[in-house]
Amino acid sequence: MGLDFHVIWDNLTYFFIGRYPHGPLGGVALTFYLAVVSCILSFFGGMFLGLLAISRNRVIRYASEAVIQIVRGMPLLMVIFWMYFLYPALMGRAMPESQTVILALTFFTSAYMSQIVKAGIEGIPKGQTEAAISTGLTHRHTMIYVILPQALRNMIPSFVNQFVSLIKDTSLAFIVGVSELTHVATQINNRSLIYPTEIFLFIAVVYFIFCYAFTTLSRWLEKRLAWAKAI
């Protein structure tokens, strides 16, 4: 059985940008957009939740811990459905599907990121905090200038794992009809019918390149920030 990649070639623009500029952006570009926006938002969401989870106020700590545990106990697909069906019901108006997905991905990934943030901060030796507050720095200053810069660097590998998962998770957006890469691929497959291997091989390669590029970028970043070994 020979493979015929004509189907990819013929639909290349559709794979990459969907119906844009005549219709909404789709395909690889939309996947990229979903991943990048959700990455950025869940970075901040994760920081926020993670900092709440180590708050010195017990009520805040328990509340954030509860949210985190609940989200971690749900399949992502369910979070997407929740956003998709509950948001319009609660808010009385619909939201574009891609925004629903971004919200769901952010919410979901933030919960995992917060655990990384929490562990990262708690992993910095106590002596650092003690040294900082001994010079009269407040707890906030200590966090911003002493603990977080060190903790963030240590968190990079775990962040990257999480983001790589996130890139792949964007494929679940197809379930609510967002025309990202996987959705586009199923559409083309339904139309042409006889090239499923070629089509899904192609998108597998695209996902791989995405994730691999991201991992490489982060390795470079990690090296650049390696003050501990700097000579």
Partner: protein, 244 residues
């Protein structure tokens, strides 16, 4: 400057400080020694509230630490602390380690703070290391930077918790020299150390602490020549033996 009155401290059931009474006057250098686990670190850490006390009274620079209205950050800015493990910030250069607190707390400009930091680094003999990260410095150099960092806040009191215990023997001298210098400049100091040479030469008084109680307190000459307590005699035999 520092006054302990009947201070008690517990870690759970462990009675770590048991009725401590101690007075350190302005400009005095007091050395604290005692066996491992006797409560030396806990004692010195109560002074800047790294460990809160449970009972008794502790007055530092006129501030009563049992008063809930006391501004703890302000207290800490007036009290420098030097740790056994240096605890420099590994992501910052020596210079930035020193300038962080003066800029954030004292409201110094970057330039003022850096000029002061260079002056302090010169004082501890490390001017040429200002752009080095802690990982590029030897233990002795790191500890000297840590002392400079504490001094940058212009503290009224300097506390040292075994500042030379984590150092290779050949580096102990350079740190002690900086501390001697500081003592001679009239700084009020409390130093937990087993460096008996330093105690004899520099300190005004030496305290021996065991099981959380100050068993003996005397001027260094008296302390070493006429130890009264049996436990202190044993302890001195150990730390002054040639094995050490």
């Amino acid at each position: 400057m520092i006054r302990f009155e009947g201070v008690h401290k517990f870690f759970g059931k462990l009675h770590v400080l048991n009725n401590v009474n101690l007075h350190v006057k302005k400009g005095e250098v007091v050395v604290v020694c005692g066996p491992s686990g006797s409560g030396k670190s806990t004692l010195i850490r109560t002074i800047n509230q790294l460990e809160p006390i449970n009972e008794g009274k502790l007055i530092v620079d006129g501030m009563d630490l049992s008063d809930p209205k006391v501004n703890i950050n302000k207290l800490r800015a007036e009290v420098g602390f030097v740790f056994q493990q240096f605890n420099l910030y590994p992501h910052l250069t020596a210079l930035k380690n020193i300038t962080l607190a003066p800029i954030k707390i004292r409201g110094a400009t970057k330039r003022e703070a850096e000029e002061q930091a260079v002056a302090l680094l010169t004082r501890v003999g490390l001017a040429e290391k200002k752009d080095a990260h802690p990982s590029q410095l030897s233990g002795g150099q790191q500890q000297r930077v840590a002392i400079a960092r504490a001094l940058a806040m212009k503290p009224k009191i300097m506390l040292f918790d075994e500042p030379t215990s984590a150092l290779d023997p050949e580096m102990i001298g350079e740190v002690l020299d900086v501390m001697k210098d500081l003592a001679q400049s009239g700084m009020t100091m409390m130093v937990v150390t087993h460096e008996m040479g330093f105690a004899r030469e520099v300190s005004h008084r030496v305290c021996f602490i065991d099981f959380g109680t100050i068993l003996e307190e005397a001027e260094p000459a008296e302390f070493f020549k006429n130890p009264k307590h049996e436990r202190l005699k044993q302890f001195l035999k150990q730390v002054l033996s040639p094995m050490h």
